[in-house]
């Protein structure tokens, strides 16, 4: 499998990244090199191997549905790049 410039553009769109032409060319080359290296894994037969998503057995953690104090609005908005009427402001989503 090899990655084309078009693949890079598609993946950049999925990742919400805007790449310059130079970045696209560089990533095409570097991702191909990394993925070629990753093909090494195909030397191994893993048909009967269970995947590890987590090293230790985990159970889902649940908590009681109890109301707790929320963060004060000043704290919530402390890092907001733009705000209006105690809300975070973004460009219009609906035309």
């Amino acid at each position: 499998m090899s990655i084309t410039l078009k693949d890079v553009e598609h993946v950049a769109n999925l990742a919400r990244l805007e790449l310059s032409d130079a970045e696209k060319a560089q990533f095409t080359e570097q991702l191909n090199a990394i993925l070629k290296y990753a093909e090494k894994l195909n030397e191994l037969d893993t048909d009967n191997v269970e995947p590890t998503s987590h090293v230790f057995e985990l159970v889902n953690v649940m908590r009681d549905d109890v109301q707790k104090e929320s963060l004060p609005i000043e704290k919530v908005l402390l890092n907001a790049p733009d705000e209006e009427d105690d809300q975070i402001k973004v460009p219009a989503v609906i035309e």
């Binding site: 693949d7 995947p51 230790f56 890092n79 790049p81 733009d82």
Partner: protein
């Protein structure tokens, strides 16, 4: 002598006898930073005003005769991906250059409770992606042993600050070697605990199934005490392990008689600097002389670890870093055409090249049509790598090898060649994939640059790892070597 060369017991005794105050310790820290940080560049943000205020409060507690723990009054540096309330936390990224956390990470809160003073936030590779600190979007940190060389990474600022005596100890984070490798390059002690032992709440996530916070210290005893302070179950981290926490410093008995050590031949083969190999072989002789036994073993899937790691870690990173969209915090791009454009522009302007590269790799590996071939395949190989260790630990107590194949490399030497840079992590990545604990301790030098030995243990058996590391230290002088700055 700098007060940071005193042992924990000596500092404690001097504080109690009023020979030393917390204010003096904090002063010593900032004085040393003023002298050395123009060269080293270990710190991104200093916390001077708050630290001095806190030192005054702690001195008052001392005067009141309140009981103090082992870490009381110690100046600490915190890696800049661990959130600190009211103190900028940038992850060395332009994206978060103005990010002022509204809460403390669990480890930050625990250290505060133990009476340590946060001196400042330490430089790192952007979002912990890298092994040289050259991926910091602000400036590279330099190795205290030779400023032309990298300190390692991603916790390079943490390692350099401890090695240079700017702080008494530091916290770092380790995803594929980011505590152990810089500790090795800077000639100090770095411990990556078992996955889940230390809460990740408030650690800015890189690869959630691998990330773990741990101490960087001048010696093993300090590492045991810092681990004691930060380990333990946390309901705020759903992957936190609910296990009984032993007394780690009680494990430092100096006795390694009968300890069974496995030495993987894959860690001492091709690509390992012969001087690194020699230093590790000499260390094994020291263990022999102390009554431990060692044998060569094989971890046959080692050669697949790096490919596995970069697929899994990048995939998890691409998902974790989706939160940085310029909406709620961070730097928002100016004049976006619409919301989608705001995401794209903010991310493209905010992230550096290595972060973009890994997001791209991870997004590709998870994308429709490639998931089975890359991500699922890597998860399966991860199982095989973990089984390698499981089998060895049926017969042995510890695995020992080098921490990194070479000593530190020159700044700029490996930039532009991501794959070569990734190969520096060959000895640390398999351990991260298996989730087990490992420590790096100094065991020699080559051309004036430190060499690190890695001691790997069974899951949640930090006690045996620390015991073996401490016994080596007690019988050698490597940990006493300091860079001249």
């Amino acid at each position: 002598m700098l007060p940071f060369e005193l042992s924990l017991q000596e500092v404690g005794a001097k504080l109690r006898s009023k020979e030393l105050s917390v204010t003096e310790l904090v002063d010593a820290s900032y004085k040393r930073i003023a002298e050395t940080d123009d060269t080293l560049k270990a710190f991104i943000t200093l916390n001077e005003d708050e630290a001095r205020k806190q030192a005054g409060k702690l001195d008052q507690e001392l005067a009141n005769g309140e009981a103090q723990g082992a870490l009381f009054g110690l100046p600490a540096g915190i890696k800049d991906n661990i959130v600190t309330e009211g103190l900028l936390t940038t992850c060395a990224s332009q994206f978060l250059k103005n990010y002022n956390p509204i809460y403390d990470a669990t480890v930050t809160r625990k250290l505060r409770a133990a009476g340590t003073v946060t001196i400042g936030k330490l430089n790192m590779d952007e979002f912990a992606m890298g092994g040289s600190n050259e991926n910091s979007s602000y400036f590279p940190t330099r190795n205290p042993w030779n400023p032309d060389y990298v300190p390692g990474g991603s916790s390079g600022g943490s390692a350099a600050a401890v090695a240079a005596g700017q702080v008494y100890f530091a916290l770092g984070s380790d995803t594929g070697g980011s505590i152990r490798q810089p500790a090795a390059y800077c000639g100090i002690v770095g411990l990556k605990p078992t996955y889940g032992l230390v809460s990740r709440f408030g650690l800015v996530a890189f690869a959630s199934s691998l990330d773990q916070i741990g101490p960087l210290t001048k010696n093993v005893e300090d590492a045991a005490h810092v681990l004691q302070a930060i380990a333990g179950y946390d309901e705020k981290d759903s992957t936190s392990a609910n296990v009984v926490i032993p007394n780690y410093s009680e494990a430092l008995t100096g006795d390694v008689k009968g300890l069974r050590i496995a030495v993987p031949k894959e860690y001492l083969g091709e690509g390992i600097d012969p001087r690194v190999k020699e230093a590790v072989m000499n260390a094994l002789k020291t263990y022999e002389s102390l009554g431990a036994v060692w044998e060569e073993v094989s971890l046959p899937h080692t050669e697949y670890a790096i490919a596995t790691y970069y697929l899994l870690a990048s995939s998890e990173a691409s998902s974790n870093l989706a939160r940085f969209d310029g909406v709620r915090y961070g730097v928002r791009a100016e004049n976006p055409e619409n919301l989608l454009d705001l995401y794209r522009k903010s991310r493209s302007q905010g992230f550096g090249p290595e972060v973009k590269r890994r997001i791209m790799l991870g997004t590709y590996a998870l994308s429709s049509g490639y998931y089975d071939a890359y991500y699922l395949k890597a998860q399966k190989v991860r199982t095989l790598i973990k089984q390698d260790f499981d089998q060895v630990f049926e017969k042995y107590d510890l695995v020992i090898g080098p921490t990194a194949p070479t000593t530190a490399f020159r700044i700029g030497e490996q930039v532009g060649d991501p794959l070569t840079m990734y190969l520096n992590d060959i000895c640390t990545i398999p351990v991260s994939l298996a989730g087990i604990p490992a420590i790096s301790i100094p065991c020699g030098q080559a051309d004036g640059l430190p060499i690190g030995m890695q001691i790997i243990g069974k899951a949640f058996d930090e006690s045996t790892v620390l015991r073996a590391a401490h016994a080596f230290e007690a019988n050698t002088e490597f940990h006493k070597q300091r860079p001249s700055l």
